[in-house]
Symmetry: C2
């Protein structure tokens, strides 16, 4: 404790990056894979289609048998059978023979073309062909769509319906995905109550608990919202221990008062080790980060916008690492809509809303709920800068 | 049946629009509201904050008592109590009095400013103030963030963590959202099997079932995948009836052969009414649409890209209507990356991939699974057009 002091953001990120958490892999049924993140590269285990397949209804033939066909001198082939979609044909086509075949059915041995039935005539067990067919006419060759062994999807892909459909086409009933990190979320504050409870004088409804829990879920994690701890050691310690029991990490957001930070600090000290005690950014100075039995515990600021900003800067990268989405881009460049003032010597993060190619600063003060609801993300104003002019090029980091 | 013929797309959309389905509203717990679509406008039922609130730790005072304060002639006020966050203060401040107050605590009656404790001195039960405080210093007024009655969220909003956090701040334990339409999904084809089953000669794995079910889920519906019907009347009828029993609408995708369409047609005829029997678009001619006991039944084409294109054109607008998201924009304008040829007299939809400001046509044929997996959406080539030149401005509709 004695050695801990406010550290630069980069140092805090280094510490978080060194936390002993690794992405874990699980196999889920394909029906539950939508939205999950692929944990392995996927190469096709089969040819698609797995066999030479008729793409029209008609007659499977040996193309060479038809090369001499013309309107005036049609070729007659003997129809020796019929193959429907789903059939496993035993038939083998000899010279001068044809087979009636339906779309999607596998070509019989010997055949290399399918002539659509509209282009031929049928007389008894003979089909009359008026023009030559070339090999592969009316046929989708085995593997023409996807060759066995071809790399199709890479590790880290978030599965949309297009990817689940592709995995279905490959016959994959189970999919290797990154396990969702389990995140305990705790709100604090004697004045904070949950929606649904009546609001007594002096009380306000919780904001951060819902915001953080749902931001975790949007990121691809599993959130366990443990409710609200009072500003006392027993209440806070009980919920932190509950979180450590059931989850991979624990996120607290401070009440408005500074007391929670000190309590969190001493509980982490008692149960584990405080790693970061304040970060040299605004907002974020009150942020506390520790490790208990290998599990990270974050004490985030109480003001909603500050809480979300610190969650985005510190916790989201860790969660992305755990679900294999480290490379996800969550930044855009925009032009500042109007001048903003900062304080020299303070590294500041300001909420902004994006409108077209503009970043519009939202200057309501960090205490306002509405500032983060109206914001899309934030910009950084470095220590050395006092004024950012309208029109300046700024990098916007999206919340969470 | 006798009067039914291939109709223009607009006619089909009109028919679908007239289907007797209405959005339904349900109330869900706030914890389950993430990703759902708001069914009512939300105005704030309370002021946020609900009371005048200290934004710093310090002393609540009557500002006028401090107007004469200076370094040389500080003002001394009598500290008559302490208010912490969550307290419901009974204290009323008289002239010459102050109260110790913590951040987030409600101001006592009579007080209108909070001076941070760093700016004052304390001696016994007196606080010594060295400069004037103005009214509202260190105070967030009741309703300063959100005024009671203010319209905050509008019907049709898809709830992200920002909106659920806002609803939490308003104390809303339950949220009115549009009920997820329940959609039965049926694949067909004697040659089609589900992933996990072994692939026998002549068989292929299902694609459309997974694609459609997961596209429905991404749109905000609830998909019930009923599996694969064989190309026979009993099998198909059994699954359609099962779908009608448990769901609001039924989606079938044809096997590769045309037979399923005729079967679907006659089953709809038997149980209800065929409304559309083919649409004058490519792909989409084999699409069948009917109504059974007020529930729509769609028979979509079998080829994956055709199936997805028709799902996007015909079914997605209906689902969006049912979840209150009709206005959702799913189109962008791009420049065609290279020349494409179409057939005059045929209204064609071609899959494209978006790369920067370009739409890159994917010309693999509709039978390929990979074409819709690689595509982001499709462009339309009108009947009158044979060639679209590279660089031409095209509207891209995203899949689903």
């Amino acid at each position: 404790m004695a050695f801990l002091k406010v550290v630069p953001l980069e140092k805090a990120l280094e510490v978080i990056d060194s936390f002993p958490l690794e992405p874990k892999v699980e196999r889920v049924p394909l029906e539950e894979a939508l939205g999950r993140v692929l944990a392995e590269d996927i190469a096709s285990p089969i040819d698609v289609p797995p066999f030479d397949r008729a793409t029209v209804d008609g007659y499977a033939v040996r193309a060479e048998d038809t090369f001499m066909a013309s309107e005036s001198e049609p070729v007659r082939l003997k129809v020796i059978g019929e193959i429907n979609a789903g059939d496993s044909p035993e038939i083998e086509l000899g010279p001068g023979e044809a087979v009636y075949i339906s779309t999607g059915a596998p070509l019989p041995k010997g055949a290399d073309a399918v002539i659509q039935f509209e282009d031929v005539d049928r007389e008894g067990n003979e089909v009359i062909i008026y023009k030559p067919a070339y090999p592969s006419l009316g046929v989708m060759k085995a593997g023409a769509d996807i060759l066995k062994g071809k790399l199709l999807l890479t590790k880290g892909t978030r599965l949309s319906f297009k990817e689940t459909a592709l995995l279905s086409a490959l016959g994959m009933a189970e999919v290797p995905v990154f396990r969702k990190p389990k995140v305990a979320v705790i709100s604090t504050g004697n004045e904070v109550v949950l929606p649904g409870e009546g609001l007594k004088s002096g009380q306000i409804y919780d904001i951060n608990g819902r915001a953080i829990a749902d931001a975790v879920r949007e990121l691809g994690g599993e959130a366990v919202f443990l409710g609200i701890a009072k500003d006392d050691c027993e209440s806070l310690k009980a919920l932190i221990e509950k979180g450590l029991e059931c989850c991979d990490l624990v996120l607290l957001s401070g009440g408005a008062s500074g007391g929670v930070r000190d309590l969190t600090n001493s509980i982490i000290e008692e149960l584990g080790e405080v790693k970061i005690h304040g970060i040299a950014i605004q907002p974020g100075k009150p942020t506390v980060i520790g490790l208990i039995d290998g599990k990270p515990v974050f004490g985030l600021p109480g003001y909603p916008t500050s809480c979300l900003t610190n969650f985005t800067l510190l916790v989201a990268p860790l969660l992305r690492r755990l679900i294999g989405r480290e490379s996800e881009v969550r930044r855009v460049r925009k032009r500042l809509a109007h001048k903003v003032f900062s304080v020299k010597g303070r590294r500041q993060f300001l909420p902004v809303r994006i409108e077209g190619d503009k970043a519009v600063p939202i200057l309501k003060g960090s205490g306002a709920v509405t500032s983060f609801v109206e914001a899309d993300g934030f910009i950084e104003v470095p220590e050395t800068v006092e004024i950012l002019e309208a029109g300046e090029d700024v990098g916007v980091t999206f919340f969470a």
